[in-house]
Symmetry: C2
Subunit: 394 residues, 2 copies
């Protein structure tokens, strides 16, 4: 069996960016992946400016609280100051450019000003309350890197550099396909022997949350020609194909036959729980991922195994998820496989959902994250464990 790390590493070694690039208005760029670095072409701030509402002066001109300085100008944010006349002060506001020759700003709370002069009661050292040109960013600095996903603060930073449009990766097109004669769609009535198709919604939701363009091919009935036709369409329309269920050694599994006839398929045994049967191959040249059929197995393998590969295909550079330190509210014996336990953070530590069956998707809805129990690891109550809040997989 492959370890989880080996499976991820093997997949990543075969991943390449499958998404082209396109220009994207900064207003629409949230969550998109940069196709090129963003390099500063201006200094931020572009000039020395005031960090306070107050008065700008040459520090050397201050002769104590009893010697008012005449006001020679008034500088608001957005206006262009002149050179500061010697022996004078300028009224100045937060964000306003500091006049030439002024070297200090005094906050107004330390001043008594009239419209004509100001008494400075306490004068801070030279340089105080001035934000320097280029303090935030200087020309030529790489501020955002190709392969990163744009968050709100990244948009703010790009905007602060005057960037109105960025080069991003086109959204990766991921086709999803469920198989099984027992599946009916929500809203329909389920007869005897039928179950509602939940994997389609879990997969579609999660892939959409990652920003992919989901090509939903619905449910293929368990007939060879139907599966073959669906799979061909998937390969024509998408960059990557994902299915759930249907890939095992069972007699009724046509997905395996179809993928092998249209491309190639490897069945992997990964030491992960839940989620053992995992398939990887290609269909008409497009990567194919076959997730297990059980709902929690789909959720776990999608987040843990498929995610890094899919993000790499999207052109995302860093696909790692760093666990955080958690403290277990439960004890658990060692397992032979790496176990992704559904837990919830509480005041008294991480609480385990009582039913960890791979059929019980409710465990993942009740929970807010995983405890990752490595193979052979014994979990002691109160002991430190690897905790992976679901939010870290976004």
């Amino acid at each position: 069996m492959l370890s989880v790390n080996e499976a991820i590493t093997t997949l990543l070694s075969q991943a390449r960016c499958l998404a082209g690039s396109e220009a994207c208005d900064l207003f629409e760029a949230l969550g998109r992946t940069l196709a090129g670095d963003v390099v500063a072409t201006i200094d931020v701030p572009p000039a020395d400016n005031s960090a306070m509402d107050g008065y700008a002066l040459r520090r050397a001109d201050w002769a104590g609280a009893e010697q008012p300085l005449p006001l020679s100008q008034r500088v608001t944010a957005g206006s262009v100051p002149g050179e500061l006349a010697p022996g004078t002060a300028a009224r100045i506001f937060t964000g306003a450019e500091v006049p030439g020759s002024a070297d200090t700003v005094v906050m107004q709370e330390h001043c008594e000003g009239t419209s004509e002069s100001v008494r400075i009661l306490h004068c801070p050292p030279e340089g105080a309350n001035i934000r320097r040109r280029g303090q935030d960013i200087s020309v030529g600095q790489k501020v955002l890197s190709a392969g990163q996903r744009l968050r709100s603060q990244d948009l703010g930073l790009a905007a602060s550099l005057g960037v109105a449009s960025v080069s991003v990766r086109q959204r990766l097109k991921v086709a999803i396909l469920s198989t099984g004669d027992e599946l009916v769609e929500p809203g329909e009535s389920a007869g005897p022997g039928q179950i509602y198709n939940s994997n389609r919604f879990t997969m579609k939701g999660q892939l959409a949350a990652w920003g992919f363009d989901v090509v939903d091919l619905g449910v293929a009935r368990d007939r060879l020609e139907v599966v073959r036709e669906c799979m061909t369409r998937a390969a024509e329309q998408a960059d990557v194909i994902i299915t759930s269920g249907g890939v095992s050694v069972g007699e009724e599994d046509h997905v395996k036959d179809v993928v092998e006839s249209l491309g190639s398929l490897d069945l992997w045994r990964i030491a992960i729980k839940p989620g053992k049967p995992f398939a990887f191959g290609q269909v008409l040249g497009k990567p194919f991922i076959g997730l297990p059929g059980n709902p929690v197995s789909v959720f776990v393998t999608l987040l843990v195994i498929a995610r890094p590969y899919l993000l790499a295909c999207q052109g995302i550079a860093d696909t790692t998820v760093q666990p955080v330190a958690g403290f277990s509210g439960f004890a658990k014996k060692a397992s032979q496989r790496e176990d992704y336990l559904r837990v919830r953070a509480t005041e008294s530590g991480l609480e385990l959902f009582p039913n960890q069956s791979s059929g019980v998707l409710f465990s993942a809805c009740w929970g807010d994250g995983f405890v990752r129990q490595k193979a052979a690891e014994v979990i002691e109550e109160g002991g430190r464990v690897d905790y992976l809040p679901f939010g870290l997989f976004d």
Copy 2:
């Protein structure tokens, strides 16, 4: 000064859900907020079914590996089995309904089968490999609660219950407005004294990431009548109004005057760093939040102070963010205010961005989270600290 907790609690005590409800197709419900509970109307699974590909039998009928059982039926997923004839076995596949009277499933790896009979080499105990009716969810059980945001697994769970449409909160409409004569838009050229408007992008991106409907009113010039006109439109079009900059004691701040004339305004001094000046009030009956003007202050106060209130206005029940345990890679003296330090997780602990100025938004782009340094807390290198990955604020 208010502590951060006091500020959040005070805001939350004044929050009420401002969003109406609407029906939403499950396919479109990712990230939406439930307006009502989802209660199971069916059992999941709806009937006992097989956890394996194998053979179903009455456990009592097994008389050892040397006594093959004739096959009386073949049950695939989706088909409806008959009662199991005594002294026989049924071929069965994963997910298929277990025939009546069968009480055990044997995995096929422990069998030698032909088309007519099966030799069971090892027979597990009665009840093995059967997933029981209602094991996942039973009728009447509340599985998803009003006020929770729908994640991919929640969509999967709702689907597994046959739910095709859910009642969700309409997206909260949040108006944003920047003020300042010094602001120019990305793509334009910035003259002397002018700076690019970054807060608009940070705010718009973050509010969109939370699923709100952003009403972007652009930039209001620093003139009373312009600000008044913008603020009136904001109150007409949105449920909540947010501005950045413009609310302080400076002479050039018209936002304060306008809000006071159209409604009411409190200026809060919150013991948070960065981000001290914070305003809360109402404009023509609509809640008004005035964030500070510095880019990191906007980011921090939006995530830490405004977020819980906004989510509550959206109808979201749990707005808390639970910090995780981190280990500091740096030492830092105590501060009088609660300090949200921009850090990055590394192998050797959390690394501090060297420039923590509120003007340097790059710190939040370089970083992956905050260390929350409580007032008067001393941070020791290697010591345990409260770490808040940005992903937790989603």
